[in-house]
Symmetry: C2
Subunit: 455 residues, 2 copies
């Protein structure tokens, strides 16, 4: 739906003219996922009118897509009967998300309107640790006994399918509810109807544990082409499924988290605009302080070499270039390694391969940087520092090569050490790497200067 | 499959003992997506033996998962008949990927073994621009005429489904092959078999154009919960579909690209280890050179204020802290804005909201940094710089506040300007922002010093 503004105008017109039938059929054409941005443009009472015109299933679909503040406003105008209809149409994972977002008073009203049996399931789902497979799964899946025929399978789907989050995969359970097989609906559709399910099912399908990290679950979706993954308990009993649309959300969340960590921030689940100024400040200040204080060590090194730049003041002018280049060299390497680790393209055991590769890249890159800088120094300072020009070029060039090597090794190794220590490699990104490399590169610079220029 | 090593040993044992039947049934149990890592551990002749034991469908599935160098090696040992079987079992998008990766001689052999009709389709697919929806779509979808019944739909799926990449969504076409509807297989399964397809189809489904950017296609998957999206030409005729597993690949690729751009690298499609040392160096050197040369402007500013740090040498010691903090402040903001733009959470029209938010966050953050630094200066230099201690604290504190404001505004605004100019916002990340902010913050620092300390 490209044109939300047009749609909004049309709807407001229809509401004012009370053309309910026309409005009704128009709403039917709009995809559930487009309602949130449409609702952003409408007034509260218009939203309520529209919402009440939606069919039962569509209303639940739309409700699940809405932002929590809009959900809250709607619940506040709902009668108990309306609330009951909505929560009973929602899939379990969406109900759980809703309960987690709502204030206590609203949660009480929601739970009151849910049947006893569902309430029990919801309580169990709420108890899974945050970020676990259990916390993102839903319990509405199609289950078969192994000895039924495909035709009987179709009958079960016809009877119960409407309440299931997906029918693309169906799961085969034994008598103790242990997961023994997976049937893809395509396999059922192209096979003879009187075959047994057990003859076409995929045995011992890939599954995840309720306690597995949701990031690992998302990675499995990335690797295996399933539309849903079964979630089992420690006894291999099927307790839920995670569907691929939720996995995509997890992938995007994890990527955002990595971006934020790599820019020295504490990750935040809310969007940019939904996060208040003080929360933004809180998420950013910790690392800024840590890095600011660490950078005083670099300052201390510079202070120690006061006599060097008192003798040759131009040395100070190279500090930004050396620090900047070191930081950039290091963050290039750390970014590649962090991303490689996140995508499982680099394993911890590859550490020596990484070192060897980074070393060679650093030598190539460092040499080019050194040559370009030597040429620049010749043209920029050739006339004023005639006697020292060769020495100055040597100092800066050598510093650049050594800094490139150091930065690329530190940038390549630190994320892998973090991973070995079960820390998130993403924290070993540009900001920390720069701070460490700054210190070392400035030290290298002044040591070279003292040695080569004999200050 | 958790234990590739165990599996490998078992397989090598079975090959040596020539227990072909046992090997056969063991291979059947292994998921296609696990073969690439298994093959990494095996010798070339073992790979060929195993590959020849796979069923026709599985062989094609496994082949599509393999790295291009393994694919190439296999093709080189294939007879023409074997090659023909594989390429005719592959889905069109996988065939196209294969052709794009292989050297000319292999491509010639592949094309020779593909039927004339398929060859025409492949040529069309190869002609879509890189990164377009057309370049990632496949042509194997289920299509219905609108006047058939659901039962007739099932008959079509049973007859043709095995050759289709997905049967979860089926598409309804009119006589001129224009896309008029989408039927979800769930809807078909829960409805009466004698209803017309047109009664249960979703009219005017979300679709993409062949020329649409694949990143936008991936975003649609993120927003709408479809398992596949139909791809139409400018006349709304259905020409292909993109399935969700390919969309996940695109999402991950785009994220990797952003990570690489944000760390001042030219993005690279290959994995870390598959990229040679010189390609790595080539991808990294351009931005390093640009940023290194830019940072000489900061150096020039420092040089200009030689007399200031000749008078008060300790000023130089604050340079790393100010540059580092400015860079970190800026990259925090630019990262949040770049990510917000990528996820459509921030729009170009939000620029003043971003400025207003960043300004307030910067004031909060800058003030805290200034206070902490003032305290540190008091304790560190209190004894040696007694008379100047208040002035020094004021200079550094004021610089930090102004730098935070500047950095956060530059970091927030530049990615949005890039987007307005149709550039990728990701290039306006930490490295560029740092270089710009470095220059300004050092200028602010010395201006404050000259003003307040009266140098």
């Amino acid at each position: 739906m490209e044109n939300i503004e047009e749609l909004q105008e049309k709807i407001q017109e229809l509401i004012q003219e009370k053309k309910i039938n026309e409005l009704h059929s128009m709403l039917d054409e709009i995809n559930s996922a487009d309602f949130p941005s449409l609702f952003e443009e409408l007034k509260q009472d218009e939203i309520v009118i529209i919402y009440r015109l939606l069919s039962k299933e569509k209303a639940a679909e739309v409700f699940a897509e809405l932002d929590s503040d809009v959900q809250k406003k709607l619940i506040n105008v709902f009668t108990d009967k309306e609330l009951k209809t909505v929560v009973n149409e929602l899939f379990m994972d969406d109900t759980v998300d809703l309960i987690e977002e709502m204030p206590a008073s609203v949660v009480k009203r929601i739970l009151k309107n849910i049947g006893v049996k569902d309430r029990k399931v919801i309580n169990e789902l709420l108890n899974y640790p945050e970020d676990s497979a259990g916390s993102i799964m839903t319990t509405e899946f199609v289950e078969f006994k192994e000895n039924i025929t495909i035709q009987e399978g179709f009958d079960i789907i016809k009877k119960t399918g409407i309440k299931k989050e997906t029918v693309y995969h169906c799961y085969v359970l034994d008598k103790s509810r242990k997961l023994i097989g997976l049937v893809d609906i395509k396999e059922m559709l192209i096979s003879d109807r009187d075959l047994k399910i057990s003859e076409i099912m995929e045995e011992n399908p890939i599954s995840v544990l309720t306690s597995d990290d949701k990031e690992d679950v998302a990675k499995k979706f990335d690797k295996y082409n399933y539309m849903a993954l079964p979630v089992v308990d420690t006894e291999n009993r099927l307790v839920g499924i995670v569907t691929i649309d939720d996995a995509i959300d997890v992938i995007q969340e994890e990527n955002t988290e990595d971006f934020e960590k790599m820019a020295a921030m504490i990750p935040n689940e809310e969007t940019y605009f939904k996060t208040g100024v003080f929360t933004h400040a809180k998420n950013r200040i910790l690392w800024l302080l840590v890095l600011m204080i660490s950078s005083t060590f670099t300052g201390a090194i510079i202070e120690k070499y006061q006599s060097a730049f008192a003798a040759i003041p131009v040395l100070v002018a190279f500090i930004p270039m050396i620090m900047g280049t070191g930081g950039n060299c290091g963050s290039q390497s750390s970014t590649l390694v962090i991303r490689g680790l996140a995508l499982d393209e680099i394993k911890i055991s590859d550490i020596f391969k990484v070192i060897w590769k980074e070393l060679r890249v650093a030598i190539v890159v460092g040499t080019i940087l050194a040559i370009v800088t030597a040429i620049r120094i010749y043209f920029q300072y050739g006339s004023s520092y005639q006697g020292e020009i060769l020495h100055l070029s040597m100092v800066v060039g050598l510093t650049l090569i050594l800094t490139a090597i150091l930065a690329k090794l530190v940038g390549g190794i630190l994320p892998m050490i973090a991973k070995t220590l079960k820390l998130d490699p993403a924290i070993m990104a540009a900001p920390i790497i720069s701070t460490i490399v700054d210190m070392c590169s400035i030290l290298i610079f002044f040591k070279c200067a003292v040695m080569i220029m004999g200050i």
